[in-house]
């Protein structure tokens, strides 16, 4: 329980690594204090990520779900409208989780990307920030956070890429990148 204090709206954005992982670190702390946590990931993917495997070993009160959103530009079979429809369903689920008042911390992982690509209107996100339960901590990750979301947030960190192994021809690695 996060008590009677006002919950924070936290944004991790920028082009560097460490946005989602920082959110997962907050989840560890929250579970440590016995909070109830939801991590809703605005991503596609059927493989099992490291965070799913890791959090599955936890005893805490955690809901972790991939919402199947992702604007896969190189996928010619899906129209933009289909992407918007998938995002709309995901957003409804995220809203339900936030407004349910059943959680102390909710992470909307990679949400900023969905708004950046126009899949979810930024006005919806601003509405949710205003109408979330007072004590709930809400964490939004993803590059390209909208200026109005940054304005509405309490704590904003820009993860700036200083150096990335992709520059040296390396690729995403299990345990580090997913």
């Amino acid at each position: 329980m996060s008590g009677n204090q006002r919950g924070l709206v936290i944004v991790y954005t920028g082009d560097g690594k460490g946005k989602s992982t920082a959110a997962f670190g907050l989840v560890v702390r929250a579970l440590g204090y016995g909070w109830r946590v939801a991590v809703l990931q605005f991503v596609k993917g059927t493989w099992r990520t490291g965070e799913e495997r890791g959090f599955a070993k936890f005893g805490g009160n955690l809901v972790l779900r991939k919402l199947g959103v992702g604007f896969v530009t190189w996928h010619p079979k899906k129209s933009f409208e289909e992407h918007v429809e998938a995002a709309r369903k995901a957003w409804e689920e995220a809203k339900r989780a936030v407004l349910s008042d059943e959680f102390d911390l909710v992470v909307l992982d990679e949400l900023n990307n969905a708004t950046r690509f126009g899949l979810i209107p930024v006005e919806e996100v601003l509405w949710l920030i205003t109408n979330k339960p007072r004590r709930l901590h809400l964490v939004l990750t993803g590059r390209g956070a909208d200026e109005r979301v940054i304005e509405a947030a309490d704590l904003v960190t820009e993860m700036k890429m200083v150096k990335h192994p992709f520059e040296h021809g390396e690729w995403a690695r299990a345990g580090i990148d997913y």
Copy 2:
């Protein structure tokens, strides 16, 4: 096990929030894949942090220790020499953990602060980066990472403070800041 790939040297630095928490997120993923992990914190403090409480609930192979380093400038009873001596002991322990080859991921949390304040020579850190087991992933956190450490690292993210609730007169909170 991280396999035969070369392990990465990852640095999270900058004045923004999310450096240690990003490292903890990597720990979640690593434990998810069954890696053996050590988190050695170059911090003082006797209270039980959220990450300690959280990770205590994990089933994975994790060692988490506070090494009792911290350059407490407002503490008049300790001389600089005493701080250096505490840091030296902590560094020996960190070196043992890295060189033991018993871990797949080692996090030296807040180490950059200890080098920044001259408590641990940066040459020692560079030596350890060069001499770590090849497959070990090594994560260094803390603001003010030395340029030579950044140069020697594979992946560097600067956590830049865009907005912080301290600006609005709020203070560190359980579950978010520790």
